[in-house]
Amino acid sequence: MRSVILKTATRLMVGLILIFAFYLLLRGHHEPGGGFAAALVAGTGFALFAIAEGPAKVRTAVRLRPTLIGMPGLAVAALSGLPAVFAGKPFLTGIWWTLGDPGSGQLTIGTPLFFDIGVFLAVLGAILSIILGLEEH
């Protein structure tokens, strides 16, 4: 199980998987993907990493306690609904900012994207904590 080849391969793979996860997260608003898919991809990546290298390695790689990833995720999701309240709109109303000129490529950023990031963090944290917990037991 713990062969050198596997180690190297997983390291490479984990990097790729994480990049893919972020890609899925960011494109999710327009193409298939989104916070869930991204978190699941990342979670699977770390799960494989943990199987190959042992859970301790994953913990050092992640640095944060997994439960402390999930909760901020929840917090981000909840708080992303609040700016609208300060703007006098109902909870969870999307607030959007447009960057760039109207002529060339525009980039719109809104609170729903932060909500999606919250989803990503929450699900990733949950998966990590349960996988690591089970691995360590």
């Binding site: 439960t67 402390l68 909760m71 901020p72 929840l74 917090a75 909840a78 609208a84 309240v85 709109k89 109902p90 909870f91 969870l92 109303t93 999307g94």
Partner: protein
């Protein structure tokens, strides 16, 4: 304005998140729980005040008009349920300070409890069927966690039944939602009110309603779907049991009342007057009979939960203004009294070292305050005038008689007597009986009757509320009559929700 409906859900959740993020130590977690509960309570009071002023409040989440987005709706019924949730939540948080071991606090007791409180409010406030499902799942997961957190063997084996049977209920609920969406094309409850009448095949609506009734019936612990409740509740710490018994199973009752007044009133001859009516009778009777056979305080109380739910469903099944008002008052009274009895059971445990009727005793002599707290709630539960339970029972029985169901009225009265039987059994054994000598000579004789003030105070406060509620029932009855009127004539509700449709 619309945040009034969000705060009762969001504040407990934010408290939970903050508790985790601050990596609060046990002592700090206790204090944060108290602060969170106070915030929750004030949010609930504000909501109720606003509802009384403005009848039906609606908040469109994300500013999307109904029925497209999710709405939170507060009419009289849901607002008062939110308030009572906050009251119980606060009482339990104070109580937990002494009742809950620090190991459980470290494992996230407060996180689960607060999210549970928020989710219960979510279920009371939501106006969307699928959103209701989501809140049910949040409650379920939080209760799973609280149930097995102590990891005693009895909790695990009870937990298995709780988890498996509730998962069955969840699956049925989800399937029912799918079917209802497939029939009507909507998920918004107010929208459903209009759309179910348009379904070309009415038997299909009835069948879907029955599916939903089974799903809610499991949650509400109706006969014969209640099995998970007596298997799991008696294994819980008193604080958790109080919260579960007071609120968790009542959410099922709430959902039933909501769905079977707002949406599924197309076939009341079958759904209400035949099935719910019969089920109510069996539920009342079975719960009380089984309670009489028990000797452990939490088990007696658990079976009584079932029995009392029968009264509420009886009120729903009759579907008259008086009956529904009775059901609502019964719900409110029962949440207070039942939660308090479970809290009192924790005091008994602390003072005598046991929940078991044979091994406890001497509290009447040694601790008058605990006795008062228990007796008031127990007599209220048994429906002794002038305590709150009597008025609730009076309304339900009167409504039953007015619908000419004489036998059912007699049954309801007999069940009241048997409830009294169980309550005085606890009273006679735990309070009046002298404390039994410890079996093993080395065993500690914990019969001093000393209890923690953190645990005693909420019990006395809840007992006081029960007492005051019973003596000053008039405003509550008026309130319940308006609430029942809103339920029976949902036009105002539907207009409030859908009025803004472009």
């Amino acid at each position: 304005m619309s945040m009034l409906l969000v705060w009762p859900i969001l504040l407990p959740m934010l408290t939970a998140i903050t508790t985790v993020l601050c990596r609060a130590k046990v002592g700090a977690a206790h204090w944060m729980a108290l602060v969170g509960a106070a915030l929750h309570l004030s949010a609930a009071v504000a909501l109720l005040a606003a509802v009384i002023e403005g009848q039906i409040l609606v908040a469109h989440m994300g500013n999307w008009p109904a029925p497209f987005g999710i709405v939170l709706v507060a009419d009289y019924f849901s607002a008062v349920m939110v308030l009572i949730t906050a009251v119980i939540h606060s009482a339990v948080m104070v109580y937990s300070r002494s009742d809950i071991e620090s190991d459980l606090v470290r494992a996230g007791y407060y996180v689960f409890m607060q999210i549970l409180a928020g989710a219960v409010c979510g279920a009371f406030l939501t106006g969307d069927l699928f959103n209701l499902y989501v809140w049910f799942e949040v409650m379920l997961m939080a209760s799973f966690g609280l149930l097995v957190m102590g990891r005693r063997v009895s909790q695990l084996t009870g937990g298995i039944k709780y988890v498996t049977l509730n998962l069955v209920s969840t699956l049925l609920f989800l399937a029912a939602i799918g079917l209802i969406y497939g029939m009507t094309g909507t998920l918004n409850m107010a929208d459903l009110h209009a759309k179910v009448a348009l379904v070309p095949q009415p038997a299909l609506v009835t069948a879907a309603a029955m599916l939903l009734m089974v799903a809610f019936g499991i949650k509400a612990a109706l006969f014969p779907l209640f099995f998970w409740l007596p298997a799991s509740y008696p294994t819980l710490p008193a604080a958790v049991a109080a919260f579960f018994s007071g609120l968790l199973s009542k959410v099922g009752v709430y959902a039933m009342i909501r769905m079977f007044t707002l949406v599924f009133t197309t076939d009341t001859g079958v759904t209400h007057h035949a099935i719910l009516f019969g089920v109510a009778g069996f539920t009342m009777l079975f719960g009380v009979v089984s309670a009489a056979a028990q000797m452990e305080m939490r088990r007696i109380l658990s079976f009584h939960i079932i029995s009392q739910i029968g009264y509420m469903i009886l009120g729903l099944s009759l579907l008259t203004p008086l009956a529904l008002a009775g059901a609502i008052i019964y719900l409110l009274h029962n949440i207070l009294a039942k939660a308090n009895l479970f809290l009192a059971s924790g005091l008994v445990r602390q003072a005598t070292g046991s929940f078991h009727l044979e091994r406890a005793g001497g509290l009447y002599k040694n601790n008058g305050w605990v006795s008062i707290g228990f007796l008031v709630s127990a007599l209220a539960l048994a429906g002794m005038p002038p305590l709150s339970g009597f008025w609730a029972k009076l309304l339900v029985i009167r409504a039953t008689l007015e619908s000419h169901h004489y036998a059912m009225a007699i049954l309801a009265a007999v069940v009241g007597l048997l409830t009294l039987f169980s309550m005085i059994k606890i009273w006679a054994e735990v309070f009046w009986k002298p404390a039994p000598a410890p079996k093993d000579p080395g065993g500690k004789a914990s019969v001093g009757g000393q209890v923690s003030a953190w645990m005693l105070a909420p019990v006395l406060v809840l007992a006081g509320i029960t007492l005051v509620l019973g003596l000053c029932m008039e405003p509550v009855i008026r309130f319940a009559e308006i609430a029942a009127g809103q339920l029976l004539d949902p036009r105002a509700y539907v207009t409030a929700v859908l009025g803004g449709t472009p």
